[in-house]
């Protein structure tokens, strides 16, 4: 088992197994029948997970596993303009990518199992198609994670985008869903453009895109090192890297749904729920965080980018939490919550507490997958109704779903012994203590914004839980809801347990935890050592203020906010809406039982949150992104295209005239400038 070559050959197998599953299911799946399709897809995932375990044993033993690296993929011109440098097909597993590897294959496997039951209403062809895309997605995601160069990561990056696009539009009959796919497409293309700019800039600076070589290339260099060769000769390293990393970060914003490119993620909920759980919560959307962590040594040399990452993350966290307040669609609540949690992760990697960002990525994968799958189970029970106002009282009808949902909700809320508390608060405490060379205050700002967002998270998640499961059923459908199949609830329980157990990763460095204190941070330390060295000076570490008070504040905020939600939706405050209704006859008309809560909610939210957030949402989402990018630009382009098509009117002589005039212009230009 500890033979490295086994692990090495396993690396490519990891990608090829799901790919093979996708190929078989894609080409002949519809003739195989559902059982065989599921067998192939899950078989591929089980095999991939086992290979991942084999590889991970090596990583745990302290060995990094590389495969390929010498096999050339293609050559590009080096920065000196002469030598060609090679981009290789190489895979690379260290503690960072190994951790993600386990998350992707593990959570991926669970979601595959869940989907066999969830998608069972599809016909044979649709079923095969679904698992084809799902397997293809896993293969692409593994390429993204395992690739040892930015270019190979880009291969996976594009692949997951394509699969996401295909899966969002899975139920294609709906025009609205087709539109949602388009939104995802446009924002992701903006992101890809940024990514490419980053890759090309890095290629022009260093002549390589390999992570290991890049790390070696910047080793010992400071922000002020002057570049002597290549397209950026004369720039300082810091300035060139700021350009490169900002490009990469634009890519991250697109993929990981950060301001202002977050808009596609809530719409991506049009896809089947397991897809939302796998792609739009646990894996793909965290790719941006992974990329920043992966290239931490580059970002560390660009303090301005670090500050940007941190601020964008913090703003997104608050902003998305605010929007989640007034969502009534259970999947939309979870989607905005994902955007908000991704913001937390970016605070982490932007403030230089890389391990915390990655840890939150892992714990978030567990509890958010659990939440989404729980939502899927609820939707099954509710006959595809997603409006939480129509639910209520499901706790007796769906006990397993309810328990797991509650555990996951507590985890994301940050109730103390669960994993979410530790990962989130490691981020916030780290941000508070961080120092940014470009904008010193950024860590403090991020801390404040993050704490507000955490309070918001606790409230809206609890609201979502109470509205869904507590009280009495508010509709006929809710009265007749039923628990889902064991294949689904079993997966839910595994994920719920994981989101509790993951707390072991994040225990803070207190005496009582002994060697478990910050175990994940220590484990990840080799990966980020170089970046931390740049940030805090060679050999120096971040000053270890392990103060208790940030943890206490965070705990208090989560509890208070959760308690408020409980009070409003379950406890004594429930009567307030009714009293208000009697006091203001205008409300009395709506005094029907099931609406009370929402009236108070509206009263509460409209005053304090909704107006602000709604305006912002309106401006950013509806006008800027949807209006300009998704609709506006294509519409303008199409309009102008139609205008220019008038020239293509089929008349040969008009064509000849165009050519003649253009030739005259060309001659005028070359004569005007060339003959003198």
């Amino acid at each position: 088992m500890d033979n490295p070559t086994v692990a090495q050959s396993g690396l490519w197998l990891l990608i090829l197994l799901p790919l093979a599953g996708a190929l078989v299911n894609g080409l002949v799946g519809r003739k195989l029948g559902k059982a065989n399709v599921a067998l192939i897809a899950i078989g591929a995932m089980v095999a991939a997970f086992l290979s991942a375990l084999v590889v991970y044993v090596q990583v745990l033993a302290g060995r990094n596993v590389a495969s390929g690296g010498s096999e050339n993929w293609f050559h590009v011109l080096g920065p000196d303009g002469r030598a060609m440098v090679s981009i290789a097909w190489g895979l690379w597993v260290d503690r960072l990518s190994g951790t993600l590897l386990l998350v992707v294959t593990g959570v991926g496997l669970l979601i595959h199992v869940y989907s066999t039951s969830y998608m069972s209403h599809e016909d044979d062809a649709g079923y095969a198609r679904f698992f084809t895309y799902l397997n293809l997605f896993v293969a692409a995601m593994l390429t993204l994670v395992l690739g040892d160069s930015l270019v190979l990561t880009f291969v996976g990056w594009e692949g997951v985008g394509l699969c996401s696009y295909l899966l969002i539009g899975f139920w294609y009959t709906d025009e609205q869903k087709a539109f949602c796919g388009r939104k995802a497409f446009v924002t992701n293309r903006i992101g890809d453009f940024g990514f490419l700019i980053g890759v090309f800039t890095i290629l022009s600076i260093f002549g390589t895109a390999n992570y290991g070589q890049l790390a070696a290339a910047v080793k010992g260099h400071g922000v002020d090192t002057l570049l002597t060769a290549g397209a950026f000769a004369g720039w300082t390293l810091g300035r060139a890297l700021t350009l490169a990393t900002l490009g990469l970060f634009v890519g991250c914003c697109g993929k990981s749904a950060q301001l202002p490119l977050y808009v596609w993620l809530p719409d991506a909920m049009a896809g089947p729920t397991p897809v939302s759980a796998l792609i739009h919560a646990a894996t793909m959307v965290t790719a941006g965080v992974y990329l920043v962590a992966r290239t931490s040594f580059l970002f560390a040399l660009a303090p301005a980018t670090m500050a940007t990452v941190c601020l964008v993350g913090a703003l997104t966290a608050v902003f998305a939490a605010a929007i989640a307040f007034f969502q009534n669609d259970i999947k939309k609540v979870l989607a905005y919550s994902t955007v908000s949690q991704l913001g937390f992760m970016f605070i982490g990697v932007g403030a230089g507490v890389y391990f915390a960002g990655v840890m939150h990525l892992v714990t978030h994968a567990f509890f958010k997958a659990c939440l989404f799958l729980g939502a899927g189970s609820v939707m099954h029970g509710m006959h595809e109704d997603t409006d939480i106002r129509n639910m209520g009282g499901l706790k007796d009808k769906m006990p397993h779903t309810r328990m797991t949902f509650l555990i996951a909700t507590m985890a994301i809320t940050g109730i103390v012994p669960l994993s979410g508390f530790f990962s989130k608060d490691a981020i916030l405490a780290g941000a508070l203590n961080s120092e940014n060379a470009a904008f010193p205050a950024v860590g403090k700002i991020a801390y404040v914004l993050g704490t507000i967002a955490a309070a918001g998270t606790a409230f809206y998640m609890m609201r979502c839980y109470f509205l869904t499961f507590s009280g009495k059923p508010r509709t006929k459908v809710a009265e007749h809801a039923h628990e889902s199949s064991p294949a689904m609830t079993g997966v839910l329980w595994i994920l719920a347990v994981l989101s509790v157990v993951a707390l072991l990763l994040g225990l803070p460095r207190f005496e009582i935890f002994g060697r478990w204190g910050e175990v994940f941070g220590d484990y990840m330390h080799p990966v980020f050592a170089q970046a931390l060295g740049i940030l805090h000076g060679e050999g120096g570490e971040a000053a270890e203020h392990v103060a208790l008070w940030p943890f206490a504040v965070a705990w208090g905020v989560a509890l208070a906010s959760g308690a408020l939600a409980w009070a409003m939706y379950v406890g004594n405050l429930r009567e307030v809406p009714g009293k208000l209704a009697r006091a203001f006859p205008g409300f009395y008309r709506f005094g029907v039982d099931k609406f009370r809560v929402d009236e108070l909610y509206d009263l509460f939210v409209v005053k304090f949150v909704k107006n602000g957030a709604w305006v912002l949402w309106k401006v950013v989402d509806r006008i800027v992104i949807e209006g300009i990018f998704v609709n506006g630009i294509p519409r303008v382009l199409a309009g102008l295209g139609r205008f220019f098509r008038l020239g293509q009117n089929g008349d040969l002589q008009r064509y000849a005239a165009v050519i003649a005039v253009a030739a005259a212009v060309v001659l005028w230009v070359v004569l005007g400038t060339g003959a003198r």
């Binding site: 011109l77 303009g81 394509l162 397209a231 199409a638 220019f644 064509y655 050519i659 030739a663 060339g674």
Partner: protein, 489 residues
């Protein structure tokens, strides 16, 4: 005076191609048989022979007193052209048989055209280039009119002919002016001349070649001709004509860049950069609004001409010249495989009228691709691969090609072009992936599965393999391209 045996031997690939054409002409009239299946196989055989002869023939260098140069560059171009010819012939076999139009003349004309293209790849003389262009063009004019039923093929051929000879006339007049300025039409001599006459002449020649590569604003013929011509012919034009025209444009551009006055070289670089810019913008832009996939591919070929022109512009900078040239060659190879494959799928799905004479209005509409993922997963997969490659998504040939071209442009400090190239290819993905969306996300309109023959299947399989191999393991080909880029001009 000795017989220039070696010079003729260096042109053996061209000899094989035109000899093959003659053989096919004679066999068509002498073997009066209803079974014409052998013709396509024979064409493939001749193109393989020619490619082998080109690859095995070494690089004798300058022949015919400098009028042509057979080097690694021309060999690379010849092999691409032969590959494009072989694939198009396979597509043509099934397509023509279904329309009861399979004749030896089709293949003979294609072979003649390919011999013109191969000559063009080695041309280092304006007159030689002009005659090669005419050999290539006259064959393709005739091929475009090959189907005599319906209004569209004749119209496409007519437009192509009139505008093509119009641009040839411009090119020839430019050649005459260059001749007047330099006293010779050899590229090597042109570089030593100067003066306004030379600049105007080279400008007119550049216009003529821009027409052949379909760069905006000399692209006006492309959509109409690509749409109206028989689909296998369109494939051949998109692959072969573009490759050959870019080969000679590249060689000539290097000459023009090296022309003595630096300001003239600069202004040519400016003109090419402007053409690249508008080609990328307008090609992608106008493709957005198309519903006919065939026409969309026509606009897309204009856009790709723009990307290739970025490479030509990058070749102007001395530092990045080799990288730029090799990126152009690699791009041409990957584009040939991709575009022939894409047109092959279009040929399969083309809607046919109830009778042979009927021309359905929406023969290539996007709807034809709806539900293909369910009806024919293999065909849909192939088309998806081609579209993804045209969009430049990794790990396909198109991605590597674009990456190499843009990287060369950045090395040549042409940042603007590189950025516009990246932006427009982001835009371009929209209409390519729309085809994928139709194939996988729209219900089928009918059960009809189009025309598919073993020959087309072979062509599709080869094209898919080529696109993936060039994307996953491009090193073999790109090493050859780098070797070919070291042309000693």
């Amino acid at each position: 005076m000795n017989f220039p045996t070696q010079d003729f031997a260096a042109l053996a690939p061209v000899g094989i191609l035109s000899g093959g054409a003659l053989i096919l002409l004679l066999s068509e009239v002498f073997l009066a048989s209803t079974r014409r299946g052998y013709q396509a196989s024979l064409t493939v055989l001749f193109s393989i022979l020619a490619a082998v002869a080109a690859a095995g023939g070494g690089s004798p260098g300058v022949i015919f007193n400098g009028q042509a140069t057979v080097d690694a560059f021309s060999t690379f171009v010849t092999v691409i052209v032969c590959a494009g010819l072989a694939l198009s012939a396979l597509v043509g076999a099934g397509w023509l048989r279904a329309r009861q139009a399979e004749r030896g003349e089709f293949y003979a004309l294609a072979l003649f055209g390919a011999s013109g293209m191969a000559l063009l790849g080695s041309a280092t003389d304006l007159l030689f280039a002009f005659i090669s262009i005419e050999v290539m063009s006259i064959s393709t004019y005739a091929l475009a009119a090959y189907i005599r039923r319906g209004k569209k093929p004749a119209e496409a051929a007519f437009k192509y002919f009139i505008l093509g000879s119009f641009s040839s006339a411009l090119l020839l007049y430019g050649t005459a002016l260059v001749y007047g300025a330099a006293g010779s039409t050899l590229f090597a001599e042109i570089g030593r001349a100067q003066g306004p006459l030379l600049v105007v002449g080279l400008g007119l020649v550049a216009v003529g070649l821009s027409f052949k590569v379909a760069a905006v604003p000399f692209h006006v013929w492309t959509p109409d001709v690509y749409e109206g011509a028989p689909t296998p012919v369109t494939a051949f034009m998109a692959a072969g004509v573009k490759t050959a025209a870019f080969a000679v444009l590249t060689r000539l551009a290097l000459v023009a860049f090296q022309a003595t006055p630096a300001s003239a070289a600069n202004s040519f670089a400016w003109v090419l950069a402007a053409l690249a810019l508008v080609s990328m913008l307008f090609g992608n832009w106008l493709a957005l609004t198309q519903r006919s996939v065939k026409r969309m591919l026509a606009y897309s070929s204009i856009a790709h001409a723009g990307y290739l022109l970025v490479g030509v512009v990058a070749a102007a900078a001395a530092g990045a010249r080799e990288a730029a040239l090799s990126s152009i060659l690699f791009y041409l190879a990957s584009y040939t495989a991709t575009v022939v494959g894409a047109f092959a799928v279009v040929a399969v799905l083309e809607r046919r009228g109830r009778s042979l004479d009927e021309e359905p209005a929406d023969a290539w509409d996007l709807e034809r691709f709806a539900g293909l993922g369910r009806k024919r997963p293999g065909l849909a997969f192939a088309m998806a691969v081609f579209m993804v490659s045209l969009a430049g998504v990794p790990p396909t040939a198109g991605f590597i090609g674009k990456l190499l071209v843009f990287q060369a442009a950045i090395s040549a400090h042409a940042y603007g072009l590189a950025v516009v190239g990246m932006l427009t290819s982001a835009l371009g993905a929209y209409y390519y992936l729309r085809v994928v969306v139709y194939m996988y996300m729209r219900p089928a309109e009918d059960r009809e599965i189009g025309l598919i023959s073993p020959a087309i299947q072979v062509a599709l399989a080869l094209a898919v393999v080529a696109v993936i191999v060039l994307g996953v393991g491009p090193e073999t080909v790109s090493k050859l391209a780098r070797a070919a880029a070291a042309i000693g001009m």
